[in-house]
Each structure stands twice: as C-alpha cells, then as structure tokens.
C-alpha cells in the first residue's frame, strides 16, 4: 500500500510570530516539521507496515532552502519526499495550495492520502478536502483512529457528541487529529538513512499552474491588521492558603455563587 502524507514546515510556534509588510506570515526564521503532521507520518508508517509492504511519500509546498523538517519525516521512515518550491508560491491561498499538492500527488497514484486536520501556523483547515475534491476522492476528516481493510479505509471520526464510524473506498483522503497515534522518534540509523533518501524539488512550471498560485490566484486580500480589544488583567495574588477563598469571593461578586 502506498500512502502520501501532506506535511508542512512552519515557523516554530514557540517563537514570537509576526506578519511582514505584505501581511504574509514571517517565515524567515528556522522552520520545523509541523508537529500536527508527525501524527499523519506515524499513521502512514504503521498502515504500510500492517499492509506488509508499500511506501510512504511525504509531499510539501514551501521553501526548499531548509528541508530539515522533511528530512525528519524521512528519518521517521518515509521513503521519499516531494517539495514544490517556488518564489511564485508566496501568498498562495488554501485552494491554490490544494491545486499545487494535487498536481504533485496525482502522479504518485497513492492508495491513501493523509494530512493533519489543519496546519499549526495558518489554521485554514480546508486544504485536505479541497485536495480530495481535485483528486476525485472521498474524504474523511477528524480521524481519531484509522484502519485499512482490503480496499476500504475505516475511521473513527470525531463529532460534536462523540464519534462516528465512517468507511470509504480507497483511494481516499483522511485527516488525522493529534493523538491518533504516538509519533516515533527518529532513530540514529533513521537519521543517517534519511540523508540519502530521494527528495524531489518541483517548480510551479513543472506542475503547469502559474496563473493559479501566488497573491493573484488567491483572489482575497488582507486589508488591515489591528490590535484586538485588549482585556485588562485584574488582581493577581500569590497563593498563601487564601487562594480558594479569593476565588469564592470573586464568584460571589459576579453572582455566580
């Protein structure tokens, strides 16, 4: 079974984030593999192991100048990486991203495409299902468990009330939540092996998508960024045994008690 995992290298969420003059997220610092994507990589590796053969390919859009995050996925056990990297992609929106990923993934002809429910930097959360539509595949989002039996994928999908059992024929797109599996750490052997694994870099021209990417393809624009209405911090006490009493008094003052 061949599985594609969509991954993204993002600025470290623990570091301060900012927008540049064109309102794009500042990505000039060190990039890391989005932690949300490590669950998909792990899930893919386990599914391929269970199927008794096949390959995991990670596919990404973003700068090829720093690919340590993709190497990390290869070190975990993925067989190869494809990254679509092009200055023309700066400012591409979710649909444009899905078009790029679809064009890069289609030749791989995977049985299953996995992705996180959303990236940890942009949070748009629509790319995987846009991708499914462009690839003419069914999609199941918000999986908390994934199993493949024969030519079907079965998923426990989160709902407002609990979860649904959902099944779809392969090939399909499934988005996984954090916690679907415990991602493995790359072994030393894996890290060494990753250095010689294939990492293919594609341009927008390679995919024939020029007019549909970048700010022009996005057909949306940020008009301004303003400070949110600030909440005033109230009293802060160091607990000296009276912390609980202070909370009770506060709850009384707002008539909750």
């Amino acid at each position: 079974m061949n599985v594609v995992v969509c991954v993204k290298q993002i600025p470290d969420p623990a570091a301060p984030q900012s927008l540049d003059a064109a309102y794009n997220l500042n990505r000039s610092g060190k990039l890391i593999l989005d932690e949300a994507d490590t669950y998909g990589v792990e899930m893919a590796l386990q599914l391929v192991e269970r199927a008794g053969g096949g390959e995991v390919t990670v596919v990404s859009m973003g700068s090829a100048a720093d690919v340590s995050g993709l190497r990390n996925a290869l070190a975990m056990g993925a067989s190869k990486a494809i990254v679509v990297s092009d200055d023309a992609l700066r400012g591409t929106d979710a649909l444009g991203t899905a078009k790029v990923l679809a064009a890069a993934i289609a030749p791989v002809a995977p049985d299953l495409v996995l992705a996180a429910t959303e990236s940890s930097d942009g949070y748009t959360g629509t790319v995987p299902v846009q991708l499914a539509e462009l690839l003419d595949m069914p999609s199941i989002t918000f999986a908390k468990s994934v199993a493949v039996e024969g030519s079907n994928v079965t998923v426990q999908r989160q709902t407002e009330a609990g979860y649904d059992e959902v099944s779809a024929p392969l090939p399909a797109v499934v988005t996984v939540t954090a916690g679907v599996v415990e991602p493995r750490y790359a072994s030393f052997k894996g890290i060494m092996a990753a250095k010689s694994k294939p990492l293919e870099v594609l341009s927008v021209a390679d995919l024939g998508l020029a007019a549909q990417v970048g700010p022009a393809g996005a057909r949306q624009a940020i008009t301004s960024v303003v400070a949110a209405e600030a909440r005033q911090a109230g009293a802060k006490y160091v607990d000296d045994g009276e912390g609980a009493a202070k909370i009770v008094a506060f709850l009384e003052s707002i008539k909750v008690l």
Partner: protein, 320 residues
Amino acid sequence: MTTSNIWVVVEPVNGSLSATSLELLSQARTLAGSVSAITWGGAAHAAQAGEYGASTLYDVGDLAGALPGASVARAIAGLVAAGIPDAILIPASYDGRDIAARLSALVDRPVLTNVSGLADEDGLVTEHQVFGGTQVVRARFTGEGPGLVVVRAKSFIAEPSGGPAASVVAAPVGETGRTATARVTASHVEERVGPKLEEAPVVVSGGRGLGEAGQYALVEEAARLLNGAAGASRAIVDAGWVAYSHQVGQTGKTVKPTVYIACGISGATQHMVGMKGSKNIVAINKDPDAPIFQIADLGIVGDVRTVLPSLIEALKARAS
C-alpha cells in the same frame, strides 16, 4: 458594490438547526436584504430557518448515510450556476468545513476560514483573530463571487426575526462520482453529565499544570459543584487524559461563559482564542509569568493541585 444576497449553510443537529447556523442567519439578515438557507434532510426546518430570517430554504434531501461534504457542496454548486449570491456563510463545524472545502474546489472560489466578525464596507469584510487573539486581521475577497466564509461559533448573537416559514426549494445533488462515497456506519455518543460545554454559564478547564491524568477529576468535581462544564487544554487532550469533546481552543470549542476558571493552563495561543470572550476569567497557575494572567480578572499564582482541592472544600461547605 454592497452586499444584497447572502446564503447560509444551516446544519441540522438533533432535530433542530445548530446554534451557529442561527447565529449566521441572524448576522446575514443585518448585512443583506435577501437571505437564503441551505440544509440537508430537512424541509422540517423551514419554520426555524424563516424565524431567523431566511426567505428560502434549499433542501438537499436525505443523504442516505453519506458524509454531507461532497453532496451538499455539489447541490450548492448547482444553485450557484443558476444565481450567484454575494457570499455563502458556513458554520465552522466538522461538516461545515468539509462543505466549504469541497465547494471551494468545485466552483473554484476562495474560502476564508476562522472568521469571527463580518461587516459590509462596500463589499463583505471578514475579521480573523490571529496570534492568540492579540491581533485582528481584516480581509476581503477580490475576485468574482461568491466568496465562501467559514465562521466560528459564537461570533454573533442568534436573534429571531419572527419571519414566516421559509419556502422550501429542492436542491438536487447531481453526479457525485467517487467523492460522496464516505459513509457513516455507526454513531457513538459519549455520555456527559451536566450542562454542555458550549452552553454552560461556568466552565472549569484543566491543563498540564494538573500534573497527571488522575487529577482531572478535581476539575470535573469543581465544575459539578458550580453547575458548570469541564473543559480542557489541547495539551491534555493530546496526551490522552480526557476526550476531545472537552477541548477548548482554536481546534476545539469556543466558549463564552459567565466565568471561565483555567486550572493549570498557561494560555497558549491555541487555547486563548477559544475562551477569551468569556465574561470573567479566573486563572490558577504556578508560573507568575504565564500568559493566561494577562487576560485574567482574578489570578492566583499557586499550585492548582492545592488550590483546587481547597476550592472544592469551600464550595462543598457552602452547599451543605
């Protein structure tokens, strides 16, 4: 160009339209003269859709167990081919996001998600909270309509307009090919006691500061004593301490209770977006520099594992 015609995707949940659906209908009414609603499996919702301002309810019909995304998106694409609205508003729910994404690719139109505000300023302007809700990005569509707008829960107040039942028009799905082949084979409801997290006037939430999974029982106990609901940070949901349905934040639920009590939660960006609209915020955290204190009306710098048991004792003493 001003906004004159808005469609709203309204989601059926347990025999009613979802709260977010009603919020979006209410807001659409203030922005446009003509509001239509789109739902599935539900001509029965015509009265409620009309009550909140929709003049027409397009019904996609019974989906026979298919996940709604692909089918509902195709039906909407069919409607768009016959008459283009200025915008289509969609609730930021599991199925709402699927519908928005499918529709975006089908009609080749951009989608703006995580929207928490909407205004008409010579065309629709969307507002998005970024960087933990410290900044607001304002955006607009620049190409041909309809723009697709996915709106977070509780961004607007649901208010009935007292309108008559919407007239129901069938919206056929058409050919779905392979896209609509994902089917629900069983549904599991996780039992919860007490009020729903999104509706509770009091929410007590726990985070990493609890130290271990077993300590979450303290959060549940405090919530119960306050007739509230128990919430959680993403960190402890990911760690498997508590079910996802408890998660408050960007990827979880948005809550706006009378009071939100954050127990051992530092205040990561991802969490703050889901709770900073609470009327009052109480935070207990042992790190005096935790970001959560910047938005707390009352901050207790201390170990939640000692403060919370004391609070529970005090609440029990009051109750007896």
